[in-house]
């Protein structure tokens, strides 16, 4: 049913109709509204779920690890410092092959303290074995949450899936959104059946020591599963489209790439602004396009290469930075073309850290800069007046 909802509320609805057996979370801005709404559903009896209050994000993640080990569908959400506190447990959840669905309401990481949005927090979880999907708008957030449960729990995958939505920009925005019916979800998402789970009738040890003879194989298996997920995701997407009647992109969205000479690659809510500029510049006769990355892990290398191979000038807009190197997405896309014929010129931009606004003007400037020398790591919309230069100790 179509309704005008706040992003957090819409996500809470999406989680509710997936009927998790256990929800555990600890409040942190801008994630709080999501679990507040879920707690209200539980309190009013609309959702029959064990809602477990805890004293930290580490505990929240540990609780859902436990409930998933028992074979119960589970959900949590966090942001920023909270997500980093969960990190140690999230590595375990991935290593134990438990199908958690977690929402990251993307927020900058301290210090200095910033409650505002960028994508540094989920970027820090990049290598944890967690599948990461980034959403552009609230509808995509709802749809990809349903998809996330199905993907995580697919017996061929069994990995945690994190849906990353920009804090405030999406979590606190109101937009028209179509929430699927519970019956649609029931036919898309079968009940969770784990082959191996903790069960007093049939005891089993989980989380065993794995010395140098065995550990590497566990990592290899996750890596192979990530590759297999590239094949599985389009399959599940077909099911989703058939059941809901709504299109869904799961790897990336190509926007006006046909005959494009210049393309900006972006991720999350800023993609809408980029597409708007693409339309304006196309009207002025410029051959420009955009690519919105959704699945960051697994990184759909082949599919991206096919989509981008004829584009001579590419700009990558990162809303996070690997300090001491460059934008993390930028390095991925550089690597993508390494050794391939006709490598494009790829420039890297860092923008929107701590929710510094990215307006149409900034996107246009990026497109213009693609004509010049290749840029590795340029900060856009930087306020140079605040910079003091090298600090002097006298």
């Amino acid at each position: 049913m179509k309704d005008f909802l706040e992003g957090s509320h819409a996500v809470a609805h999406a989680v509710k109709i997936c009927k998790p057996g256990v929800i555990s979370a600890y409040p942190i801005t801008p994630q709080t509204h999501i679990v507040e709404n879920l707690a209200e559903f539980v309190a009013s009896g609309e959702l029959k779920t064990e809602f477990i209050n805890v004293e930290s994000e580490h505990s929240a993640a540990s609780v859902v690890l436990g409930s998933l080990a028992m074979g119960v569908r589970s959900y949590t959400a966090s942001s920023s410092q909270g997500l980093l506190l969960m990190e140690e447990v999230l590595y375990n959840i991935a290593g134990l092959r438990l199908p958690l669905v977690i929402t990251c309401a993307n927020r900058a990481v301290s210090a200095p303290l910033s409650i505002w949005n960028d994508q540094q927090d989920s970027e820090a979880l990049r290598d944890a074995g967690v599948i990461q999907l980034y959403v552009e708008n609230i509808q995509e957030a709802v749809d990809l949450h349903l998809f996330a449960f199905r993907l995580a729990e697919d017996p061929r995958v069994l990995l945690p899936v994190m849906v990353c939505m920009d804090g405030f920009v999406l979590t606190h925005a109101y937009e028209a959104v179509d929430i699927p019916e519970e019956s649609e979800v029931d036919s898309f998402l079968p009940p969770l059946e784990l082959r191996e789970k903790l069960d007093t009738e049939n005891p089993l040890s989980m989380g065993i020591v794995s010395d140098a003879r065995f550990y590497m194989e566990t990592r290899y298996a996750i890596q192979e599963t990530m590759k297999e997920a590239i094949v599985i995701m389009p399959e599940l997407k077909k099911d989703f489209i058939q059941i809901t009647g709504r299109n869904l992109n799961v790897f990336f969205e190509s926007y006006k790439l046909e005959e494009a000479q210049k393309v900006i690659i972006c991720r999350g809510s800023v993609s809408g602004t980029v597409k708007e500029v693409v339309d304006e510049m196309r009207d002025e006769g410029h051959k420009v396009g955009a690519l919105k990355l959704i699945s960051y892990r697994p990184f759909p290398t082949e599919e991206l290469y096919r989509a981008l191979k004829n584009i001579p000038l590419i700009g990558v807009l990162d809303r996070a930075i690997s300090l001491g190197s460059s934008g993390p997405m930028y390095t991925e896309f550089k690597a993508l073309f390494q050794g391939k014929e006709g490598t494009p010129k790829i420039s890297g931009f860092i923008g929107g850290l701590g929710q510094r606004d990215i307006t149409k003007k900034h996107v246009r400037e990026m497109f213009e800069k693609l004509d010049g020398e290749e840029i590795t790591c340029e900060f856009i919309n930087l306020n140079v007046e605040y910079l003091m230069g090298a600090r002097k100790y006298t």
Binding site: F4, W116, S271, T273
Partner: protein
């Protein structure tokens, strides 16, 4: 696309009226996007919320710098910054202000002062003029109808809170009609 920015202090209901405005537009079959931008995360700190209304899909996510309309829920904010300076010519601004008070220079735009807090105080004893201001906005711009705003209230609130706010919207609407048309 019409862009509206709402200036208030945290706790004065700027997000509420942004969402009501968006909901009303949604109920009229239009596309809408409403979103806040917080300053310091505490009550009383200046904050903004924004609404975009369009007949086409709204994709742009940046803040609004050149609004067609502005709503100022707390007139003391006007002392620090001239909100009118970047408005689109021909735009309209709605200020929660009784007769006496400071107003910055405004050129090429209409400035309407609505004693929204007084209206609210008479109705329910609290100086929460946000919804009354929204009623005046409806009367002055016609972007959303009074009826849609009332329906939006019913979607968001129940009981007495819904009743008094619907009344506040109506009185804000009538005040504008009486004074400015």
């Amino acid at each position: 696309m019409r862009q509206i920015s709402i200036h208030a202090r945290a706790g004065q209901g700027a997000i509420t009226i942004a969402s009501l405005l968006g909901t009303a537009a949604f109920l009229e079959g239009k596309q809408a996007l409403a979103f806040p931008h917080f300053g310091a995360a505490r009550m009383g700190a200046p904050m903004d919320s924004f609404v975009r209304i369009s007949e086409q899909e709204i994709r742009i996510r940046s803040q609004i710098y050149e609004p067609n309309y502005i709503l100022v829920v707390d007139d003391t904010l006007l002392r620090g910054y001239n909100f009118f300076q970047n408005m689109i010519p021909g735009g309209a601004s709605f200020i929660n202000l009784s007769e006496q008070g400071y107003l910055p220079e405004a050129e090429g735009i209409s400035v309407y002062c609505i004693p929204a807090d007084d209206i609210a105080e008479n109705l329910f004893g609290k100086r929460m003029g946000n919804t009354a201001l929204l009623g005046a906005f409806s009367a002055g711009t016609g972007e959303v109808s009074l009826d849609s705003l009332q329906k939006a209230i019913d979607k968001k609130f129940d009981g007495k809170i819904a009743d008094v706010n619907k009344k506040a919207i109506e009185e804000g609407y009538n005040y504008f009609k009486k004074k400015y048309t």
